[in-house]
């Protein structure tokens, strides 16, 4: 590193972009916002914005998440997450291709947020400017309905989806897609939606209830899914699952 000299390094803008995922109607969905100005005006993009002068990267991501969705960030340090509208958030990766933004040199630090299905679709903006859609809508050739995402956001989204898919295997992250209290069946449907596979309900039940620290029974039951009443659980303290959940091949 050369001595301090402001002219010795090029200036960058630093942004955070958010891959916000949820499970709705048995599909893994991502949040997109419509761009109101150039470049890519009118196209769908991931929510995001500039990091402020005295703001940490994580703080910037949490602020953008709150502004765009009203979701608070679950602090793993905070004992119990009382907030109903809480989300998990973690850093994903950084994207800094010199040409990724035609205006100037921008490095974006992408973050991944996982949230339960929101009762209200969105706050703070009109329905035309923000939407949830299945991730396939923005990836693959499915972009016919929406057009491709702005900038390199399709790549960022793909990386975020891949991270979510692999991380629920060996961590308790799938519970971040569930409301504070949930049933084993609801948790199973999360895995099925994220992985796009069918899982055996019997074996799944045994596996998750038998993994120490994964699920904590609340004592309550619910019949909101129909059928026999199901026990309600909260997420336990365990963050690493051993043995992991096994993702069936193809």
């Amino acid at each position: 590193m050369s001595p301090y000299d402001p002219s010795a390094f090029p200036p960058f803008a630093v942004t955070v972009d958010l891959v916000v995922l949820t499970v709705r109607r048995h599909a893994l969905c991502a949040l997109a916002v419509r761009r109101g100005e150039p470049p890519f005006q009118g196209r769908w993009a991931l929510p995001g914005g500039f990091v402020r002068e005295d703001e940490d990267l994580a703080a910037a991501a949490a602020r953008e998440l709150l502004e765009e969705t009203g979701l608070c960030v679950h602090d793993p340090a905070a004992a119990a997450f009382a907030s109903e509208n809480g989300a998990h958030i973690e850093q994903l990766a950084s994207y800094g291709d010199p040409k990724r933004d035609p205006r100037m040199r921008v490095v974006s630090v992408a973050h991944l947020a996982l949230a339960p299905d929101l009762p209200a679709p969105r706050a703070g903006g009109d329905a035309n400017s923000a939407r949830w859609a299945p991730v396939e809508t923005f990836l693959e050739q499915g972009a016919e309905q929406t057009g491709p995402l702005a900038f390199d956001h399709a790549q960022i989204l793909a990386d975020g989806v891949e991270r979510a898919r692999s991380k629920i295997e060996y961590s308790s992250l799938a519970t971040a897609f569930c409301p504070p209290e949930f049933t084993v069946g609801e948790l199973r449907r999360v895995y099925e939606a994220v992985w796009g596979v069918a899982l055996d309900p019997r074996n799944f039940h045994r596996k998750v209830t038998g993994t120490p620290g994964f699920l904590v029974p609340t004592g309550g039951t619910t019949t909101r899914q129909g059928g026999r009443p199901a026990q309600l659980f909260r997420a336990g303290g365990a963050t690493l699952l051993n043995p992991p959940m096994l993702r069936p091949e193809v």
Copy 2:
């Protein structure tokens, strides 16, 4: 995002820092360089430097790696990696605390590089300015001998070590610590050094040779470890190991 206005966002410097790991004398070692100027003058730090005007993040990391170690980056796309001094490199995470550099606002995109034990300790600098040392030397309280690393580099190093330890479980990344041709025993000693455990040589042998695509026999043998001649292997094309290597618990 607000309309384009250069005064609307604060300027950042963007750097890359490298966690370069290798296995030497049965220990996981990291590369550190001595800082020649303030801040933290004289302290050990991770190698790194500013990202240039028209340079991708990955290109900046590869350039720094080459400058500091003479190592080239193995391109996974390139069919066979012929280069003797090749390393694996991947993005690790970004660090952007507003106070992490006392001079100015700097966001560092850390990268993780894994390299085989180098015949020559280092090129291009004197022995006092760059060194390999076991990672514990820089972490924990072991920093007595070297003093703590500059900036937040102890955290970055810890994150890189953790990434390496977990990633060799389910990927073929451990071969990046080996020379182009290596024996099963040498690969096992890599796992033992990185995890700090002892593995059963018989079961390890069966496991790695039985995992399709992990190892490709070259036909040659060597007795460089003493004892019965051992078959030589190259890394196979498989990047994901299924089933994974199991890291014994404590």
